[in-house]
Amino acid sequence: MEIKGSVALVTGGGNGIGEAVAKHLAKHGAKVAIVDMVQKNVDRVVKDVKDMGGEAIGIQANVTSEADIARAIKGAVEAFGKLNIAVSCAGIIRDGTMLSLDKETGKVSKKLGLDKWQAVIDTNLTGTFLTMRDAAEAMVNGGWEGLLVPISSVNKVGQVGQINYSSAKVADALMPKIIVGEFLMRGIRNIRCVAIAPGYTATPMLTGMNQDALKAILEDVHLGRLVAPEEIASLIGHCVENEALNATTLEITGGLCYPNGIAK
């Protein structure tokens, strides 16, 4: 599929990786629907695409809401007449270990709250499911060529302090296998699905963190620096164009390794 002339919907498009993906696709001639919960960021990215001479609409929406996702997809199709690419970048972290112990008594002093569990599962897993499901519905009914891109994470292998996040991301990574299998079963041949699992990426979330912690992370990255959001965007652009890529999850980590160990 060519990027030029295609229509893409990017959730979480108001910041970080989603913003880079939206701008990369727009720069290469796609029309983009930028979907995010934060209106001012949606506006900023739409304006940037406009200033690049590109075509975009902005939709403030919460990916955990079925009605909001349906509205976002309707908006993209109303504005541009079709939908070809859906990238699910909206995501959050709410880290914490499942149990915390009191140092003196050794007894449990705190449990990871259901609110932290649920918020991450709702956004990172249910939000991705709704986006992929409804985008696929539009593509099947419209008969348009399509690519679905769930965003997973290298921490799909498991990360302490992230039982909620890793559980959602391993499920996101599994989606291409199931979705494409079901497409084959149902005779749906016009839509592919490729998930992307980034490593530590230079989005505002990470660059703003404690610089010592960041330095410690970089010691385990073979590349010696964070992955740039634009590098992830360009990989997604390649996935659009290379139709042999299908039913898989691609890692882009710069060679992130376990401390003194093999790559993750």
Partner: protein
């Protein structure tokens, strides 16, 4: 250029080359771009209605019900708050207007 007033917001549909931009103003004076480079080669009379339809999709009007979500048990300390019994015949999902809703209860 065409002006559209909708839901306390002012929109203008502005021509740029052979395409249209939708710019909006909020009551607080701020502004944003709702859409850029849309409706290629359409005339003003064709682009206007398409812009209005898109505006209505992007900025919906209405009341959104946000709870209680009966499928998520909520806990406060050891106390588990159970949602209403959705199988009870008097339970109403209040997320949309119902034409069958009686005018007088």
């Amino acid at each position: 250029m065409q002006s559209i007033s909708y839901n306390d917001m002012q929109f203008s549909v502005e021509k740029r080359g052979d395409r249209w931009d939708i710019i909006y103003q909020l009551p607080d004076g701020s502004s944003g771009v709702a859409g850029a480079g849309l409706f290629a080669r359409l005339s003003e009379s064709e682009a206007g209605p398409r812009a209005l339809a898109l505006i209505k999709t992007i900025f919906p009007v209405g009341i959104k019900s946000v709870g209680p979500d009966v499928t998520h048990p909520i806990t406060i300390g050891d106390l588990k708050i159970i949602g209403p019994d959705v199988t009870h015949p008097n339970f109403i999902y209040w997320d949309k207007d119902s034409v069958s809703c009686p005018k007088e209860l």
